[in-house]
Assembly symmetry: C2
Homo-oligomer: 633 residues x 2
């Protein structure tokens, strides 16, 4: 005892590295005092269980466990050192190290901490070189093209330099305007563009992830590899259906429909590029390379390839191999010599975006069995390690992305991202993205959170039915359907209540059952158990604001220790950026895709039955979810 | 004597092979009786000297030489066996073989006899193959593209088959419409188009020679190598200048001017293709390959390459190497997978058409020193043999093609192609293309003929001035300028007189002086004399109807024995057809062009002076033209 009395108290928070000296008292308060953000929707009332920290050092200086903590933490988590920050205090001096785990970090901070910018050695496909040419004269009657190609070959040390027709046409003007000094953009030995004077410092690329619901784009400096800006927009194809099957059906009706879907996504991406370039004062023609990823249907629409075969049995892709298509041929507003690269698709329902996920998370190099779940309208599930990977997919629909639910919206400012219900008085607390913003609607993660909380306080049953008598007046019937009010209209910025309807619960049930069943089939197909899976990557923008406990509590994935889960945000986008920066990775992606074993989950035995059981919240068999069982008491 | 009495008279005409038995009498009459066409504008009055035949056998059965013949035939020609058919008769029995030399054949017959369809081993760049693919099913989920490429690779025995984006897009539709049976058009290992079912018998190409004044096109069956139809039209760029320099100046004024010149020639060729396909009931999309030749400026305009540098010193081309440009990128109306190939240019003023000339005439394989003169608005002159070739060019202007002379027209039906003037009474005789057609105008060869005849009867002086007192009333003054009436308005189909004006004479003088000086510089540069040249090819549509004596008499080329001259018509077009049929020849043309030595004739010493002397008719130094001297008495 006497030795500890002499010790000076100090707390180090990870991963932020922030330290506070000499403070005793409640951990949540100490964290707030130095602006370490810990998720706590109940505000420290010990009722939400989300303000988790892991005690990495100095557990002996903390207050003893409270009963409330036992409700929210599993035995293995307790053994690891998990505490709830609202329930624990530092009682005496000594060094304490506390880790704020990803699930307790707030939204985007969680991803930033996750560092989903894979470390890539820069080897862009397009480079630039500055050249000075000798003038023509009586003794040197070489044609412009020969003059240029000969000098370029010598100075660049290339055996063979070629020049396409589009560039060749510009040569006489560019040479003369630049006084025979020019910069060429090169793709291998091919000159894809030429510019008068020295412009070799200005070389950019654009990576884009075309999701069924959302499109995310990234403008990258190809000289430094830095992401200069990112931009996102809704996929304008949404008006022709929220899911890929509806869009494929629309496209099949008439040739011009396919054309329309194609053109709308190309135009959307061109607009993003224009906006990104505007922000940074670049010309669109300074974008020399584009990488696009998306699921197979989005990929086919982007490239104007009829995806009819993707929409019906046996659901084959039209093209799997990597594509390199002239941006000009697609009508994309970038440099006219630029190509659009897509990594390979794996199957009709596992697209180039899944390959990008793998590239970003590097699970093809993982030593341990790793699971990757990319949650979007379509959910791709990759399972394996460096010895081999297996892929499948399952359609979750757009609900998890905030679409097609009654008050749904994208996860942008004003969206309710987190919900908490006080079991004592059914008070509803929520947090919006942008913190001080008044709510406009609810995003996918908010809806998942709301349903998990509603389950916790028994406002919905195991089968997902809203309890008509619950909620202290917050449950009501509108147009014959029950709904639960999350935010009252006076508190919103839209002048009406924000609610979760019975139909919304059904949408989320279908979505989460799809994810759960997909993972189940995946493990079963590979012959592994959930305990064999050592690491889980959850990808997709949806995961950015998702509370992983809530997701687990509604049964979106197995009752696995949260510490195994890592949220990686838009991994497909990160993979696209990596492929933009590295030609080596493109080769790797091509070879990798050939080795991934795809299986259709619909063909698995008991698939239908397992899916039906997974529709329950969290599952028909509550024994599979000991954490939830404990929570419900 | 007694033996010849017993002999039966027979005459064999070559190259037609027509024979007549038992006839005695005038050779021209005998020829006419069996429809052997011999040029004779004076109608047998012994005054035009054009009805030449060569007695190859049986000279002893013919009547003795007349004085009239001595005027028109040189000593070497007489020694070779030349006679005028109007002046010679078969007097007694025995076998006589008479050759109608090219210069005495009529227009197009002369070219047909010349056989300017070079003998090419068919090895087209594009071929077709028919394939049947296995259907996809549960056990075979290959993407359409992989399925197709794998089967194509196996069945065609190709290591690598590739498919471009444009074709790939069509694959799902074509495969399903054709019940997984399809035909692919292949360029090496690249699939450039696919069609449902078996279409392998339908594969065509188009060869086109873009002249400054005229465009000639040829539709070729790539399966047989046969030319199915040919078609020609005026170059619509004519309205922006008759010569290349004027057009380059126009193009230099504004970007849209270049675009306009480009588009007008592309549209003209597309119209020709459409017309040719219409005639033969083909689809334009069944044309899978195109070869285009033209002088460097025409080449650059066709490919939308700014030819500014061609228009000013040092007159360098923008591109010399062979081009292969997607027809689609040029807007040319053929199969969308087709490429347009151009053989290399040699210099700013010796273009791909000259390379095509060489390919057609094979002078790069010639054992003896050979001269090739391609007469168009621009005249290309190639001199050499299999050990090496030298090229230069000279601008003749459009007069020889019937343009920019007062009553000028192209060499089509109704054009006066041949003129004859009776020295006794100045009666003018003429022949039109289409024979019975009433004259509409005068084509280049007609104008050359007219001037040669005017010289013969001294209607023009050595300096080219029209003699105001000559012509028995046929020389008159209109608007202060002298002109000579060839056809009276009552005889024409246009209701006005057809005349040769003083200005027309000047145009022809400039043109013929350009040709003469070009040939002179060429021989001088190579260090050879005219007697060293063993063979002369005269190419260009202009030569089709040209009377070679007339051309020589006005001094267009040196006073060489006419038997050395071979008219090859549109050799550039023939070369283009050959290149369309043979990929081997394309390689040959590429290698060949690198070895041709170009020299600019303007840099030659005494060029200006020699040109001035050549403006005289036939030349300032009449001693250089002994044939003409004799003719003028």
């Amino acid at each position: 005892m006497h030795s500890s009395l002499t010790k000076h108290p100090s707390v180090l928070f990870q991963p932020s590295g922030k330290t506070v000296d000499g403070s005793l008292g409640n951990v949540m308060d100490i964290a707030r005092s130095i602006a370490v953000e810990i998720d706590a929707p109940c505000g420290g009332r010990e009722t939400c269980g989300k303000c988790r920290v892991i005690v990495r050092e100095g557990a002996e200086y903390l207050s003893p466990f409270k009963d409330a903590e036992g409700r929210f933490l599993s035995d293995s988590e307790i053994a690891t050192g998990y505490r709830l920050s609202c329930c624990s205090s530092i009682l005496k001096g000594g060094r304490v190290v506390l880790e704020v785990p990803p699930e307790s970090q707030l939204g985007i901070q969680r991803l930033l901490a996750g560092g989903m910018e894979p470390d890539v050695t820069l080897s862009p496909v397009v480079t630039k070189a500055y050249l000075e040419l000798p003038w023509p004269g009586a003794g040197d009657l070489r044609a412009d093209t020969d003059r240029f190609l000969q000098v370029a070959g010598e100075k660049l040390g290339l055996n063979k330099v070629s020049i396409g027709y589009d560039v060749l046409k510009e040569l006489p003007r560019v040479l003369r305007e630049g006084d025979w000094k020019l910069t060429c953009a090169l793709k291998g030995g091919e000159v894809i563009d030429i510019e008068s004077g020295d412009t070799k410092e200005r070389i950019y690329g654009f990576a884009v992830d075309v999701g069924t619901t959302k499109i995310a784009g990234y403008l990258v400096d190809l000289l430094t590899g830095k992401v200069l800006t990112s931009i996102s927009t809704l996929n304008p194809q949404m008006k022709h259906g929220g899911d890929v099957i509806t869009r494929i059906a629309f496209a099949s009706k008439a040739q011009q429909n396919l054309e329309e879907l194609h053109k709308s996504v190309i135009d959307a991406v061109t607009n993003m590029i224009s906006e990104a370039c505007g922000k940074l004062d670049l010309k669109q023609s300074e974008i020399y390379d584009v990488v696009v990823v998306g699921n197979t249907a989005m990929h086919h629409f982007f490239f104007n390839i009829d995806p009819m075969s993707v929409g019906k049995s046996p659901y084959a892709a039209v093209v799997e191999r990597p594509l390199n298509v002239r941006a000009k041929d697609l009508g994309l507003g970038v440099n006219k010599g630029a190509c659009v690269h897509s990594p390979p698709n794996i199957a009709g329902f596992v697209g180039a975006d899944a390959v990008a996920d793998i590239i970003a998370t590097e699970i093809h190099r993982a030593e341990e069995l790793t699971l990757l779940i990319d949650i979007g309208t379509n959910v791709e599930i990759i399972l394996g390690d460096r010895t081999g990977l297996q892929a499948c997919s399952t359609p979750a629909g757009p609900a998890l992305e905030g679409a097609e639910i009654s008050c749904g919206m994208r996860a942008v400012e004003g969206a309710i991202e987190s919900v908490w219900i006080d079991p004592k008085d059914m008070t509803v607390g929520y947090r919006t993205i942008g913190r001080d913003a008044r709510p406009k609607g609810i995003c996918g993660s908010g809806a998942v959170d709301a349903i998990a909380e509603m389950l916790k306080v028994r406002l919905i049953s195991n089968s997902g039915e809203i309890n008509r008598n619950g909620g202290m007046g917050r449950v009501r019937v509108q147009n014959g359907k029950r709904e639960f009010v999350i935010a009252l209209k006076d508190d919103t910025s839209i002048g009406k209540d924000i609610v979760i309807t019975q139909e919304d619960v059904r949408q989320i049930q279908l979505a989460k059952a799809a994810v759960f069943t997909g993972v189940l089939m995946s493990m079963r197909h590979l012959g592994v158990k959930e305990s064999d899976v050592k690491k889980v990557y959850v990808a997709g923008a949806f995961g950015t604001y998702l509370n992983p406990q809530s997701a687990r509590n509604i049964g979106m994935y197995h009752d696995i220790p949260l510490e195994k889960i890592r949220f990686v945000g838009n991994a497909a986008g990160a993979g696209a950026r990596a492929l933009l920066k590295s030609s080596t990775l493109r080769d790797e992606a091509r070879d990798l895709a050939r080795r991934i074993k795809y299986f259709p989950i619909g063909d698995e035995p008991d698939f239908q039955n397992d899916f039906m059981n997974a529709l329950y919240i969290p599952h028909k068999d509550l024994e599979l979810f000991p954490s939830v069982k404990r929570l419900l008491g």
